[in-house]
Symmetry: C2
Subunit: 771 residues, 2 copies
């Protein structure tokens, strides 16, 4: 071992140590209402399991595999996994995802369905058949979680700069990842000791241990049966050479040549260095010893992964005292298997690498303590990592607090199948409630989150190019699309966007197409605007800046008769823009009409924050009640915002001679705000089906007049129950970046699924609708 | 006459009275080097005379007619006319535009070419043949200027609001325009008295007067022969009915039925109400009594048109004391014709409408005085109108100051043909010098001006949709294009624009396409950026905000070894943006490479303000010399800016131990600025032919990688004499709104005609290159 970076020598400090790319793969067995492994095919909505980047199958047709792309933090990867999990759950109408690494009720081997592939994937099917012969189908239904870790390139470069640099940078990185691999293999027993979650098994699973053919009964418990000799593993002990990337690959190749393995991927080492795209250098390290945690929906918690990640960094910065040749690998493997099987016992021994027997918990405690010390020494400031370490330390001190004991208790009380089935059912409801957020990307705009959720469903892989700007790249087959803020796409040409952005130009074009817009004039100097007082005299006018979008600087004068008021409004508008509009004010309801590809796909009306009385509750209580809606949140991360009980609301109520304690009569609607913005608690109400087709035709014609494919058009309609005529409506503006989430999750009305329609339009039809 | 708006009753005040739409039509005969009417066909570059919106022919094939669209001020219309005039002049390689209403040397009638038309225009050709028969070809070669006036719609509405409103708004407008017509007909003699410009004629023109067949010799002078009985006019006096629009049209129709006219357009009244697109309402008033002013390039000055415009407003707001029936029309016509013929005499009489004879100059003075009073009464504030009125007043007082006397003097001294020919030649040189501005639109960006100049040449009609935003609409045949700032077009899709706008995304895409960009990282928080000091240590780095374009917040550190300097640079960058880039600094020359439609169409390098010594002149003198270049101006209205001799330059010279009085040696180049911005006097140097094709290929590949059709790409090339390799260049950014003018008018090098290429790309090929 030539390399020995220790943190004492390292000048690199700070959170850069936590940067990197993190991916998670997770399997869950689909089960039917009896808790039996499903006999139905992989849902067609996920298309071809060979090509879907996020949702596929593992060994069994019923074993859904969820794969996140590499994400830049553990929490993002976890969020991505949760989103995939939710989408899969929601789609399985009659089935549930089995929340346990150990399988549900299994039929005879003959009835465990091997994953079926189309012609292009026949090789995969053949390989699975061979696995079934070699290991038995039941063992292949064990499910788990793989966690992939790579370090930040800048960190690696900085470490390289400080090294003696006798190696190339690529070789240096290989050394780093191999050291992490070796150290994780040495220390993984600590993880299992804390986070083992597969203590029980159903009697339909044949408990056979390949090392010693012992049978144990259903009630017999282990800590992590999946990681034990009863779980998954090669038929014989194998010893890869972990000294260099090249030697590692050659040692595996030799095992295949010697028929110890059918293929290199059959090496079931619980930590593996991985080579992306046939690279000769290592791209990341894969940790495969993670049990599904049945006590949480997704099966994996931040603590579990933060602990492993930090164990990797700790290993990297800690000296190795042996060469990890076969004898030392045997010690590491024994510790791991032994703890997995016997770890519920709090007096078990493990061997140090020098061969000394020590108490597992004391040893774990000592190592976790050192991990915490390293955390401080490197000046890292990220509380959830520290929390994970402190949690592990506590567990090592009080093993009885381990959640595995809860599983044992509850399976004992309710039975293995009923307990897990009940959990699965609960988790499904939770998934259904989480219908709009993309977990881990909650800081992005809701419209983008919705688009990306649907992208995952459709097997459209995506990258976030600029997170703050909601700029993403979508890709499926050859179709690459750049999308910003969900609705800024390649489908619109630039000059149409500019025409929408400019209210004067928009109105001019619409007028030419005989579409009604409020009559008015554009001014670039105050004097001219003020001089035209007579022109606008005695009419209802709205005076507004040309290009602000936030309602700032807008004044409505219902009857323009006082020229001081008129002039003041002009001054106010000019404070926001160098160019203003004075327009006739048209009274009526304002509707947001979403036009996509010459079709109206959603119509929404916004109503100011309000409550409807029941004769019993006060306004305050009605607000609290209304705010319980899961669609309402704070800070724009939800489709609707909570109604506030603040000063603005209080003043507005006062003007109606009311206060928060007023009890509205049955069906009395009380408004708490004048403006209808969603951001101040307004309601969004879907009118897509209520608005007559005659208005929709006008909206489509307007979009076509400007040559736009995606637009949110604001139309005033005084009485939508009348068919549209030449002059009973007016278009106020066309928005070039309309939100889609308001149409997907309105306060009242249907989900208009604009995210799905956008993807259709971008050339990504649903996978079950491919030709 | 039911309507009698006077300014006393009118509450409308201010410059709105001057608003409206104004168009000019002008004819010039093309002449050859002998001053003879040209025998060559209308230049092919202007395409079909039936469809070109701006450049066509009148009666004769050699009589170029230039037509401006309606513009929102007189000065803009004049500027537009000047631009057409310049473009036509520049295109006529061997010929000149005859700058006089009276014709040049004319051959016999048989050799005066009637305008030839393609099949679709045969009717026009037939009509011209009939005119030739009826009036003789020579008379048809008289050329003049038509000035079209309409009032601002808001003004009209405001006047209507104040009226008793027994008429519809359309009828009200007709009344307005008819009153203006009648009043202009009554008062036009005043205009001619001041602005008559056709005193002399060549002997090849047959001076015949249709009213009294008198012959006068070549030397005989009039004030405005074109407007006199020797000029253009119907064969007999005709009296249209000017009382209502309907009656007006019927009276003309009757003349056609009675064979007094071949068509309604044959009515040669010198003021006509005009009906656009077969409308039944009047759209504007056309004044046709304007002689070409041979003392100016374009043939018409602001004074001439401001005077007419104000005469129209004055007429509108002045009471009429007669019904303008035939007898009163006769008075008006006689005054006009009489002044046109005898107006050089300063004691001529005119008749008032009540029949009283008064001295023309005294009467003119009195009326002009009233026009000035009205100007004050209406609280108008526009000096050039007042100047025109005061000028006219002075002329009426001192008729000998009239410019017509100069024409008489100079034609007397040099001869009619040589004088005008000499002027024509001078004007052509002036036109050639004016190669980049669109007159009247000089406040718009130069790139837009250049695009619009070429649009005019190609018969692409345009409208300015938003002047401040340089937003125009182009149209020819069915092809409508919206263009903002010349290079924001429908050819680019929105997401490609957004990708260019975002430096992080741009770099990512280029890197994926194996195109070299400066390596670097993006940061959104200071701490992370500062923590990476070691990563960037001892290298040359540039630290810059992600999205500013003005050079603000950029620091270059040639050797990054002091972390305080590094941290300060990060702070400075974060002052400009919430996201910054730290990149390797690549030394070399920066080139702007313009890519259009997958082709490099221009490459430019910018050099800081500098002078080259001659061993004699001081820096100060060299700067003054260099600033004489007509490409240099102030305030971005020219392709280059003048070099300043200010504090910044002085400090920069001081650092070189020089001052403004230093005399550089022969060929010594002295820089006066560090930055190469054109705005501080930098030079633009064309390198389109110098840069090897290998770099151009990379530029095109980069544009294609982002899917953009129009981009200005900034590339650093350390040594452009070397062919491009993988790593001897770097692309800094792609600009989505690159200027075109810098490539059209560089300090050194060819005009790369990007305006022409843009129009090609937008689907408007040159008219002589149509299939």
């Amino acid at each position: 071992m030539s390399m020995n970076i220790t943190y004492k020598e390292s000048a690199v400090r700070g959170n850069i140590w936590l940067k990197g790319l993190f991916g998670i793969e997770k399997e869950n067995i689909r089960v039917d209402k009896q808790g039996v492994i499903s006999q139905t095919p992989h849902p067609a909505v996920y298309g071809d399991k060979l090509t879907h980047p996020y949702i596929t199958t593992d060994f069994s047709e019923s074993q859904v595999e969820m794969i996140t792309p590499p994400m830049s933090s553990v929490n993002e990867a976890l969020g991505f996994l949760e989103t995939i999990h939710d989408l899969v759950s929601i789609e399985l109408s009659e089935e549930l995802l089995w929340p346990q690494s150990m399988p549900p009720v299994l039929p005879d081997d003959d009835h465990i369905p091997i994953a079926r592939y189309c012609e292009a994937g026949k090789k995969n099917e053949e390989y699975r058949k061979k696995l079934a012969e070699k290991y038995g189908k039941k063992k292949q239904t064990l499910s788990g979680i793989h966690f992939n870790i790579s370090l930040n390139e800048t960190l690696l470069q900085a470490l390289y700069q400080q090294s003696i640099q006798i190696l190339s940078f690529e070789q240096f990185k290989d050394e780093i990842y191999l050291k992490i691999t070796r150290q994780l293999l040495r220390n993984r027993w600590i993880y299992v000791l804390v986070f083992g979650f597969s203590p029980v098994v159903n009697q339909t699973f044949d408990l056979k241990c390949q090392n010693f053919p012992v049978r144990i009964c259903t009630k017999t418990w282990g800590l992590s049966l999946r990681n034990s000799c009863y779980g998954y593993g090669n038929k014989q002990e194998l010893y890869p050479d972990y000294s260099t990337a090249d030697r590692y690959n050659r040692s595996i190749q030799k095992m295949v040549e010697d028929n110890k393995l059918m293929a290199s991927k059959e090496l079931y080492a619980s930590v593996r260095p991985k080579f992306l795209n046939q690279s000769k250098s290592i791209s990341y390290v894969e940790a495969r010893f993670v049990d599904i945690n049945p006590l949480t929906k997704v099966g994996v918690t931040p603590e579990m992964l933060h602990f492993i990640h930090w164990m990797a960094i700790y290993g990297l910065l800690t000296e190795e005292h042996d060469d990890f040749s076969n004898e030392y690998q045997t010690i590491a493997n024994s510790n791991f298997r032994y703890v997995a099987l016997h770890g519920l016992d709090d007096k078990i021994p493990v061997k140090t690498m020098s061969g000394k027997e020590v108490n597992a918990f004391s040893e774990a405690k000592a190592i976790i303590q050192k991990m915490i010390e390293l955390y401080s020494a490197l000046e890292i400031n990220q509380t959830d990592y520290l929390r994970a370490l402190e949690y592990a330390l506590q567990i090592a001190t009080q093993p009885e607090l381990r959640p595995v004991h809860q599983i044992i208790k509850l399976t004992g009380e309710n039975g293995y199948i009923p307990f897990h089935f009940q959990k699965a059912a609960e988790y499904k409801i939770l998934s259904e409630q989480n219908s709009y957020n993309f977990k881990g990307l909650e800081d992005m705009e809701l419209s983008t989150q919705l688009l990306l959720r649907e992208a995952v469903r459709r097997g459209v892989s995506f990258e976030i190019l600029d997170r703050a700007e909601n700029f993403v790249r979508l890709k499926r087959d050859g179709n690459i699309q750049y999308v910003r803020q969900a609705t800024k796409t390649s489908l619109d040409n630039y000059s149409s966007i500019l025409a929408m952005e400019n209210k004067v130009v928009t109105k001019l074009i619409l007028e030419e197409h005989k579409i009604r817009v409020p009559k008015g004039l554009n001014y670039t100097d105050k004097a001219s605007a003020k001089a035209d007082f007579n022109y606008f005299r005695d009419t209802a006018v709205v005076i507004k800046p040309k290009s602000t979008n936030f309602g700032l600087g807008i004044t409505i004068i219902k009857e323009n008769s006082d020229h001081l008021i008129y002039e003041r409004a002009i001054d106010i508008a000019f404070e926001q823009d160098a160019s203003i509009l004075i327009e006739e004010f048209i009274d009526g309801k304002e509707f947001r009409i979403f036009v996509m590809n010459d079709e109206v796909v959603g119509i929404l009306h916004r109503v100011p924050a309000n409550v409807t009385g029941d004769g019993v509750l006060s306004i305050r209580e009605l607000v609290i009640e209304k705010n319980k809606d899961t669609l309402r949140g704070k800070g724009y991360h939800t489709p609707l915002e909570k109604i506030q009980l603040g000063e603005a609301e209080s003043i507005f109520l006062k003007a109606q001679d009311k206060d928060f304690d007023y009890v509205p009569r049955v069906d009395e609607v009380v408004f708490l705000r004048e403006n209808s913005n969603i951001s101040t608690g307004g309601d969004s109400i879907d009118f897509t089906d209520e608005i007559p087709a005659s208005y929709k035709k006008i909206a489509v014609k307007a979009a076509q007049a400007l040559g736009v494919k995606i637009t949110g058009l604001d139309m005033i309609i005084p009485d939508y129950k009348q068919e549209a005529t030449e002059d009973n409506y007016a278009i106020i503006e066309l928005n070039f970046n309309p939100a889609i989430h308001i149409h997907c999750h309105p306060y009242k009305g249907k989900n208009r699924r604009l995210n799905e329609k956008l993807l259709d339009m971008l050339g990504y039809p649903a996978l079950n609708q491919l030709p």
